[in-house]
């Protein structure tokens, strides 16, 4: 079995394993981020280029470095291979460039995007991105197309990872959508405006790394970090029935598949489980879902959100006090006092 060294950690893996999967076996921060690779989808990967790594030595027999950075998701390991990810400044620099390219035409509408909080691109941009965009051109936009009652498609947010195309091909049976056009005007579209309505088509929502495909039945219902994810199951003849119910009190706001540490679903779920079982009684509850302690969902808030809330409450209290005083003084000017008093108050 080939032995490979990634960022100084040595591991033995099966022949033919990709560098990325070898790194995932080691785990931790040295795992390259992925936006398009999905281990459950055949043929995925190689497109987003965020998982680029530096191969310092190709193998024990050939210890020369590879001239270019390699996509770790599609490069197989060789015995004696030495790989640098976080330890190579070249890789980090290239990754910064890739994030900038991915965000170039991304609308950055996170405040109104349902994916915010569980978005791969958001996480990637926090870790590897620039603080400001250098692009001063208008962003690329597409007309909105309707792909059915249950799935919302926002193509402006799409980063063309092709995951949904592979999912529709391999999981949902037949696909009616694909990538049309080429270059920067390539777009996800459906053939003659048909809708996605196979029994498994809802899985495209889970594989989407950004907010391009979201659940229409839970649209604008809640921010994900205000919901409590619970492991649930049911008896379903179409799928495994193992899912996550996102709860607000007693109410099931949305249902998703169970996702592992790398954001990949553990088992596909069918559309009736995802979109129709919104009743608590329809599910058997197992336990609260394990979530990363430092994630937005684990924290139950964005960092600094409490502070913001306190400021807002202060303002509301000050405003109420001023208007009460104003009313007591018999003034008809509404809030009466000057705005500066409100802010300092």
């Amino acid at each position: 079995m080939p032995k490979v060294t990634i960022d100084g950690h040595e591991i033995e893996v099966d022949a033919g394993t990709s560098i990325l999967n070898a790194a995932r076996k080691i785990g931790g921060a040295l795992v390259p981020p992925t936006m398009c690779y999905y281990s459950k989808l055949k043929g995925s990967g190689g497109k987003c280029r965020t998982c680029l790594v530096k191969v310092v030595a190709q193998s024990a027999a050939n210890p020369r470095p590879m001239p270019k950075l390699q996509a770790s998701c599609s490069t197989p390991v060789a015995d004696g291979m030495v790989v640098q990810n976080l330890t190579s400044p070249e890789v980090l620099d290239a990754r910064k460039g890739i994030v900038e390219f991915l965000l170039l035409n991304h609308p950055l509408d996170c405040p109104i995007c349902d994916q915010a909080g569980e978005c791969d691109l958001q996480d990637l941009a926090y870790v590897h991105g620039l603080s400001a965009s250098r692009n001063d051109f208008p962003r690329r936009t597409f007309e909105t197309i309707d792909i059915g009652e249950r799935i919302e498609l926002n193509r402006n947010r799409c980063i063309l990872c092709y995951r949904c195309v592979y999912t529709a091909n391999q999981v949902a049976g037949a696909r009616v959508h694909g990538v049309l056009g080429r270059g920067d005007h390539a777009e996800i579209g459906t053939y003659i405006r048909s809708s996605l309505d196979s029994e498994m088509s809802g899985n495209v929502i889970d594989v989407c790394p950004v907010g391009a495909l979201t659940d229409k039945t839970a649209r604008f219902e809640s921010r994900v970090w205000f919901l409590k994810p619970m492991d649930v199951h049911c008896t379903c003849d179409k799928c495994s029935g193992k899912a996550v119910a996102w709860m607000r009190g007693e109410q099931v706001v949305r249902v998703t598949a169970r996702r592992d540490a790398y954001g990949e679903v553990e088992g596909w779920i069918c559309d009736s489980c995802r979109f129709e079982r919104k009743d608590k009684a329809a599910w058997t509850f197992e336990a609260p879902r394990r979530v990363e302690r430092n994630s937005v969902i684990g924290q139950n808030h964005y960092t600094g959100l409490r502070q913001l809330l306190a400021v807002t409450e202060k303002h509301i209290a000050a405003r109420a006090a001023v208007s009460a005083a104003d009313e007591a003084a018999g003034g008809a000017t509404g809030y009466g006092a000057d705005p500066a008093a409100l802010i300092s108050g």
């Binding site: 280029r49 270019k68 390219f101 270059g183």
Partner: protein, 449 residues
């Protein structure tokens, strides 16, 4: 040194276009004797010792490429001829295919015999539809004469040859995108590895070679690999077709002996370009098709160290991409001092933006971003920071993409700005001059005071 005509010996002879005429010129006789007397391995050895380098642009040694073929596999092997010549400035393969179709067929027979391909393909650029007809006619003639099909030349070996038209995309010249197109799918480059020599057409071991490379193979076998290696200056062996265009008096396809013709001579000799077309001095040269770095005239004629440059892979690459370039596919274009380099670069960037397949993010987003910035600079609305930003974007694309199209889009940008930065700055500083339609010259070349 005058042209050394080997591949193009009969290019101007109308007889060469039909099978009968080609036979009168001595065609197919060698092929017959090769098939009857040589073994595939000995042909491979000859090609290896000839030092023939791939003529498609990368200059990868052909014998080495053939040796990568997966010989343990029990799947059929394929040879695909890449006639998807779409690089701006390159029109040499067209010359061979339209004037010497039987020479290419001979090359395909011999190369396929060496590789062990029983069915080979010639993939022709979609815009070359008339060439497709020429090749189809020639192949029909060869089938009728028993040079293709079952038991060719009575040697007991079966061989089929097909022509396939592209659908008009530059990216289909990339070998894996070409294979996708040949299989009937959208021409997107594949993720490598696996390389085509292991898993290519229909998942079988496949060799993809340029038209010019394949056309040279019968000559190598006829004269012997070592004799071929004696032509040119090692390691640039043999002859190379150069398609010259631009502000020169005699644009056209020329065959040179590699390393024996100086760049100066190539530009000014009556045997080749014949000097400037309108009396204006030359300003810049792109030596090997639009993808390679541009060079100002002085760096094209002499290296940074002052050594005269020769037309060969090594000499043109002297100085790396800082002060050198690459022979590429041999699409040489020459620009005189009336050319605006900003406009020229914008034109190239527009091409790459249009032709990017859109699979990988650096190329998809980067080519479009660079084109927008260049359009703005060309219109006189750019900022000085845009120039540095362009260089940075090109660095972020280079080497980080699935296929070489990203590099091909990045290199012209970096080199135009490296060598002609003053013109870009001129566009920012004097926008009113740029907008004047009579203002043709981008910027006066700064002279040391």
């Amino acid at each position: 040194m005058a042209q050394r005509k080997m591949l193009l010996e009969y290019a101007d002879n109308p007889e060469a276009r039909s099978l009968e005429g080609w036979k009168r010129l001595g065609g197919y006789a060698q092929v017959e004797s090769i098939l009857k007397t040589r073994t595939p391995d000995s042909i491979m050895e000859e090609v290896k010792s000839s030092g023939l380098r791939g003529r498609g642009g990368a200059g990868f040694p052909c014998g080495l490429k053939w040796s990568f073929l997966d010989r343990k596999s029990d799947k059929p092997r394929y040879l695909v001829c890449n006639g998807d010549e779409s690089e701006p400035g390159t029109f040499k393969d067209r010359h061979i295919m339209e004037r010497l179709p039987h020479q290419l067929i001979e090359g395909m027979i011999v190369s396929s015999f060496a590789i062990g391909s029983k069915h080979s393909y010639i993939y022709v650029r979609g815009e070359y539809m008339y060439i497709l007809r020429i090749l189809e006619k020639a192949i029909d003639e060869a089938y009728a004469a028993g040079y293709l099909g079952k038991n060719i030349f009575g040697s007991g070996w079966d061989f089929d040859l097909s022509v396939h038209p592209g659908a008009g995309a530059y990216i289909c010249g990339e070998e894996t995108a070409l294979l996708e197109g040949l299989e009937g799918r959208r021409g997107n480059p594949r993720i490598k590895p696996p390389f085509p020599a292991v898993s290519g057409l229909y998942g079988c071991p496949t060799i993809v070679n340029n038209v010019e490379t394949i056309a040279a193979v019968p000559y190598i076998i006829a004269m012997g690999g070592d004799a071929y290696a004696g032509i040119g200056v090692k390691p640039s062996t043999g002859t190379k077709l150069i398609s010259a265009s631009g502000h020169i008096r005699k644009p056209g396809v020329y065959e040179i002996e590699l390393g024996k013709v100086s760049c100066e001579e190539f530009l000014h000799s009556e045997d080749y370009c014949g000097g400037p077309s309108n009396g204006r001095p030359f300003k810049a040269v792109i030596a090997g098709g639009s993808s390679v770095p541009v060079l100002p005239l002085d760096l094209f004629v002499k290296t940074a160290a002052g050594v005269p440059r020769m037309m060969s892979y090594e000499s043109l690459a002297e100085g790396g991409f800082v002060s050198g370039t690459s022979l590429g596919s041999g699409g040489l274009f020459v620009m005189d001092d009336s050319t605006c380099m900003v406009r020229n670069l914008w034109n190239l960037a527009r091409f790459y933006r249009h032709e990017s397949c859109g699979q990988c993010s650096p190329c998809r987003e980067g080519t479009a971003w660079m084109e927008k910035l260049l359009e703005r600079l060309e219109a006189g609305e750019g900022k000085l920071t845009d120039i540095d930003l362009l260089v940075e974007i090109s660095k972020k694309i280079e080497g980080n993409t699935i296929c070489p199209l990203g590099d091909a889009a990045a290199w012209p940008v970096a080199s135009h700005i490296r060598h002609f930065r003053h013109e870009f700055e001129h566009h920012v500083r004097f926008p009113e001059k740029i907008r004047d339609p009579k203002h043709n010259v981008a910027a006066p070349i700064p002279r040391p005071s």
